[in-house]
């Protein structure tokens, strides 16, 4: 299952680099694409703004199939205060831009499943795939607007390394 989660994240990360290379984050001394997995970073009290944060949630398996399938729910949250140059008055527009980016990041709804335990990563036999996102309402906390989207990510449990 970890390979599926890694593949989903790396797919979105590489797509973000192509769609909006300006969306970056300085993390642990390095500039990276503006998307991260919450469980793979140090705990933070407040999620960083203007980046996509992936949080893995529920898990369901279907063991009756010839090759068992795992369905994992991924919550993708993002928030923004707008830009300083506009005094935050563009926070609605910037959240809309992230909405649009996320829609583009998720298409097409599949990607090769890779094993990242070794370098270079190796391609596995199946593909990881997911449903269309279900967007939640905008949440407002002082000058911060945030939203989360839920995506069900599916993968077959082939023999993983």
């Amino acid at each position: 299952m970890q390979n599926a989660k890694d593949s989903f994240y790396m797919t979105l990360r590489s797509r973000l680099t192509a769609i909006n290379p300006q969306r970056t984050i300085m993390l642990r001394g390095a500039v990276r694409p503006g998307i991260l997995v919450e469980e793979a970073e140090a705990a933070f009290s407040q999620p960083p703004a203007d980046v996509f944060v992936l949080r893995w949630a529920g898990l369901v398996t279907d063991m009756e199939l010839d090759t068992a399938m795992a369905c994992t729910e991924c919550e993708i949250t993002y928030q923004t205060c707008g830009s300083q140059s506009f005094g935050g008055l563009d926070r609605g527009r910037m959240l809309s831009a992230m909405d649009q980016e996320l829609v583009e990041l998720l298409q097409p709804f599949h990607a090769p499943k890779m094993c990242y335990t070794a370098t270079p990563p190796s391609q596995m036999l199946t593909q990881v795939f997911w449903d269309e996102p279900i967007f939640g309402p905008i949440a407002e906390q002082r000058d911060m607007l945030s939203r989360s989207a839920r995506v069900i990510v599916y993968s077959y449990l082939e023999q993983e390394k």
Partner: protein, 322 residues
């Protein structure tokens, strides 16, 4: 890449894509799809002459063939089975309204509403049309060459119909896609342009002519074809003409596998019908989709001379056990 194989469960798909190609009615020649040669095509760019009609919904196909048993003895017991009839239907909904989807989803002629002359009397399906404009030599499916004064009659966004004058012929009319069948001659010189599928939207107007946003479905127009502006489309409840097309429906699985349903000959079996579908559970907005019902007609498979309505092909995922 790791080596090995996996046992693939049933395909998981999200949507069905529809492609249609015109049957040559005069020659009774359908278009054949070769899944071996063409099965890997990119869905956005189907091989010629297939026309992409986009994603469809509520696709269902039903085989209404009858297989009866031959019984014998007392008490009777089944000896063997015989096929009494072979029949197949296809139902789905188009998610867009275009010339082609409207025509396919209706059971009779589908006409272009040619722009009418100022003096034309009112008509339900288009009255006397403005005079058609002759093309210049060298026009293509994407570029219609005109004199500067003729080109000035169009603007970006105009819809045009391109085809020849009607000269009294009977039978199937419209080339290469038949848009109607005439049992007796008419007097309307614009009739073929009323039923033609050679319609497109103008993307640019220049001194030399007009460029089209998409190529004409019929390809490069014949040298004697003329151009007329189109306001929209109309179909009628009534009439007797049945469109016939070759159809290809593609389901793409999550692992890259593909299922093809290839119907060499499909005819609409229902009159025009729409279905309003609410956009969300809250508002009153509804999307009006075109309901389509088709009956499959047979072709003779040259492989073994069997009569066939549909070919279902499956291209498995890479590394999936077969």
């Amino acid at each position: 890449m790791s080596t090995g194989w996996f046992s693939a469960p049933a395909p998981v798909t999200q949507r069905v894509r529809a492609f249609f190609a015109p049957v040559n009615r005069k020659l009774q020649a359908p278009v054949i799809f070769d899944p071996c040669k063409q099965g890997g095509f990119i869905l956005d760019t189907p091989p010629a002459p297939w026309i992409d009609l986009g994603w469809i919904q509520n696709f269902s196909r039903s085989a209404t063939s009858k297989i009866a048993s031959v019984n014998s003895g007392v008490p009777a017991i089944v000896l063997e089975q015989v096929r009494e009839s072979t029949e197949g239907n296809v139902n789905f909904e188009f998610l867009s309204w275009t010339k082609l989807t409207m025509a396919l989803a209706t059971g009779s002629q589908h006409m272009n509403l040619l722009s009418t002359a100022q003096t034309a009397s009112a008509s339900a399906d288009g009255g006397q049309a403005t005079t058609a404009i002759s093309m210049l030599g060298g026009s293509t499916a994407s570029s219609i060459l005109l004199t500067p004064s003729d080109a000035a009659q169009f603007s970006a966004g105009s819809i045009i119909a391109v085809d020849t004058d009607y000269t009294g012929q009977t039978g199937f009319v419209g080339t290469p896609i038949s848009g109607a069948y005439l049992r007796q001659p008419l007097t309307d010189i614009d009739y073929i342009r009323r039923v033609t599928f050679n319609v497109a939207i103008v993307s640019q107007v220049t001194q030399n002519g007009i460029s089209l946003a998409e190529p004409l479905p019929g390809g490069t127009p014949t040298s004697n074809a003329k151009v007329q502006q189109v306001a929209g489309f109309v179909d009628r409840l009534g009439g007797y003409f049945c469109h016939e097309w070759s159809a290809l429906f593609v389901m793409e699985g999550s692992q890259g596998e593909r299922i093809f349903f290839h119907y060499p000959r499909l005819q609409s079996m229902a009159d025009a019908e729409e279905a309003p579908i609410p956009l969300s559970g809250k508002g009153s907005s509804k999307r009006v989709v075109l309901k389509s019902q088709f009956r499959a007609l047979p072709v003779v498979d040259p492989l073994d001379a069997e009569r066939v309505l549909c070919y279902r092909s499956f291209l498995p995922a890479t590394y999936a056990l077969v």
